[in-house]
């Protein structure tokens, strides 16, 4: 039974990726492919946030910072040192993983609001560095003309088609890695235990420091990878990548998709990105108004996001999850009461 549930999940996942790869070829147009490339990058970025914040419950407002570090590293290496973009992608992810450790280490002591605010401050520092370190980052207007991935065909349509397939493949592989870590390793169980009750998790012998750092560095690395993909597919990096608005969009997409499921936020990112690009035709401002409204409505009324809207057999599983978390909640309540009395 369990095997089939696992298999069904991965069948769904590969089916979705295959559909995403094939569908745009029905009406191929460079514009459509460019949109889909961005959607794939957002999906990876949002999934990386979900690994840290949705699964482990460590709320980060600073993923725009990791995203920007990844983008600037990839673009900067290609621009200043002329190294291969592939190396730039890996280097960006690796640097982000290190920075993630550096941010995660002091953050071990912090929870909830404090962590959110510190990561927000971290992203703001990254933004200001990108804006002011002009010789390396190009200042407020950023960097461009640093090339794209090697070996792409020159014709515009073929170029964006191949680029799309490459970006989709990398993003899907990275999302699959996140999903695998969260659902099929002990680390994933530890992440959820930390989210539900840190003290309870620790008392069960889970080394919460190690697992928090693990989540931090893996999540940061994936966000950095998304940044590198963004840099090479859009061809422009500027300090606004690190702005709080980017983090706001990540959070909105993740809540829309359903926290703590990896695939939900990835799907939510694609849908919400396409929705906001579609609304752009009505007016550039209205897509952001709708964005804000969707976030508010979903967080109040549909807290489990679109991942929680599933019908059929899955509802039974989610109900079981609900009773489990209720039991955990009751247990922690009684612990707290004991502490009080």
């Amino acid at each position: 039974m369990i095997v089939s549930r696992v298999m069904r999940r991965w069948l769904w996942f590969s089916g979705a990726v295959a559909t995403a790869a094939a569908a745009p070829f029905v009406a191929p147009h460079p514009f459509l492919f460019n949109l889909l490339i961005q959607a794939a990058v957002w999906a990876l970025l949002t999934a990386s946030w979900d690994l840290l914040s949705g699964y482990t419950g460590q709320i980060s407002f600073g993923h725009s910072g990791f995203f920007a570090i990844g983008a600037y590293t990839a673009a900067g290496l290609a621009f200043h040192l002329h190294v291969s973009p592939w190396f730039g992608l890996v280097a960006g992810a690796a640097l982000c993983s290190l920075v993630g450790l550096c941010v995660g280490f002091p953050a071990l002591r912090l929870r909830g609001h404090y962590l959110a605010l510190v990561t927000l401050g971290f992203a703001e520092i990254i933004r200001l560095v990108a804006q002011n370190w002009i010789s390396v980052t190009g200042g407020p207007f950023g960097m461009h003309d640093f090339g794209t991935l090697p070996g792409l065909p020159a014709a515009p349509l073929a170029h964006s088609e191949v680029l799309y397939l490459v970006v989709l493949a990398i993003a899907a592989a990275a999302i699959a890695l996140a999903l695998f870590v969260c659902e099929h390793t002990n680390a994933g169980k530890a992440f959820r235990a930390i989210r539900e009750d840190q003290v309870l998790a620790e008392s069960h012998g889970i080394n919460i420091k190690i697992y928090k750092l693990y989540a931090f560095s893996l999540s940061a690395a994936l966000a950095g990878l998304a940044g590198g993909l963004y840099a090479f597919s859009i061809g422009l990096v500027d300090p606004n990548l690190a702005s709080p608005l980017t983090s706001a969009m990540i959070l909105g997409m993740a809540v829309f998709g359903g926290l703590g499921t990896i695939w939900g936020p990835a799907l939510g990112a694609v849908l919400l990105f396409m929705m906001s690009e579609g609304l752009r035709f009505i007016g550039v401002v209205y897509n952001l108004i709708a964005f804000g409204a969707v976030i508010m409505v979903f967080v109040i009324f549909v807290p489990r996001g679109i991942a929680g809207l599933k019908l059929g057999r899955r509802t039974r599983i989610s109900r079981r999850d609900a009773t489990q978390s209720k039991q955990v909640g009751a247990a922690s309540d009684s612990v707290q009461q004991r502490e009080v009395t």
Partner: protein, 294 residues
């Protein structure tokens, strides 16, 4: 050198007054509702827009403009609790809130900011100074506009303090901040206090936005920089600690303005966040907080 230090000190104190009005509102809301209002800066911008409409478009007196900005954002603030926070709290029950309120107010922030962009356009709107002229202090001169900002900030913060300590509803607000369950048990209407605290907090932000409009221009994102700086201030002061927020506002503002003498001015904005991260590492409870606070 000494003269420029004194000059920057005065500028820092005025900036501190604005930070204080902004951050005490944020701290009040956090202390009472346990909600960090990410949309706080948007009410700052709304205050700026109202004063622009009143003073520039309708040619009303600045006093009326500031009053309109304060009451306008106060009235808008009255709607936040019943429309957004209450349904959310009801659905959550006793479960841990996690990031949900941050996400909620982030949505509100995006919504309000882009609505202002849709209505007012993205232009930088100029508001003329409410009072003209400079006060000559021999070594430097301070514009009356800045003195006005400082004095209104002082009066409104003193009024807030008196209200919280001597008025019945103000004492109820402090009671709810201390312990909502106990406050409810003695017959305090929690919903009303939550609504009032939120409206007071964003009303202060609106007033600050109106006051500072002649110095900064008015545009939709004007408040966001203040919001994230106010987070640094509330951390330095200790989350939910009003006196701490007041002190931290002046500390950060003065350090920021004096820093221009030592480091290039474009790095000025990094200081607040550097201080915030240092405080969290060394003294997470803030300047005036006690170790047992949350």
């Amino acid at each position: 050198m000494l003269e420029s230090i004194l000059e920057f000190l005065i500028l820092g104190i005025v900036l501190g007054g604005i930070y204080a009005m902004f951050s005490t509102g944020l701290t009040l809301i956090f202390g009472v509702l346990d909600v960090i209002n990410v949309a706080h800066g948007e009410f700052f911008a709304i205050g700026g827009y109202i004063v622009f409409v009143a003073v520039v478009l309708l040619h009303l007196s600045p006093v009326l403009g500031i009053l309109a900005a304060t009451s306008g954002s106060f009235l808008l603030g009255l709607a936040i609790y019943p429309l957004l926070i209450k349904p959310m709290k009801r659905r959550l029950g006793r479960r841990p809130q996690g990031p949900l309120f941050l996400v909620l107010t982030l949505g509100l922030s995006t919504f309000l900011q882009s609505s202002m962009l849709a209505i007012g356009g993205g232009d930088y709107l100029r508001v003329p100074p409410f009072v003209r002229g400079m006060l000559d202090l021999t070594f430097t001169a301070v514009s009356y506009q800045r003195l006005l900002i400082l004095s209104v900030a002082a009066v409104s913060l003193a009024a807030l303090f008196l209200f919280l300590h001597f008025h019945r509803q103000g004492m109820a607000i402090r009671a709810v901040a201390l312990n909502p369950d106990a406050a409810q048990a003695v017959g305090i209407n929690l919903g009303m206090i939550f609504t009032l605290a939120l409206a007071l907090g964003v009303g202060l932000a609106g007033m600050a936005g109106a006051l500072i409009a002649p110095l900064f221009n008015v545009y939709p994102a004007v408040g966001f920089a203040f919001t994230i700086k106010a987070f640094a201030i509330t951390i330095l002061g200790g989350l939910g600690n009003l006196a701490g927020a007041l002190l931290a506002s002046f500390v950060i503002a003065i350090v920021e303005t004096l820093s221009v003498l030592v480091i290039p001015s474009q790095w000025q904005n990094v200081i607040a966040f550097a201080i915030m991260i240092l405080v969290l590492l060394i003294r997470p409870q803030g300047l005036l907080g006690r170790a047992d606070q949350k």
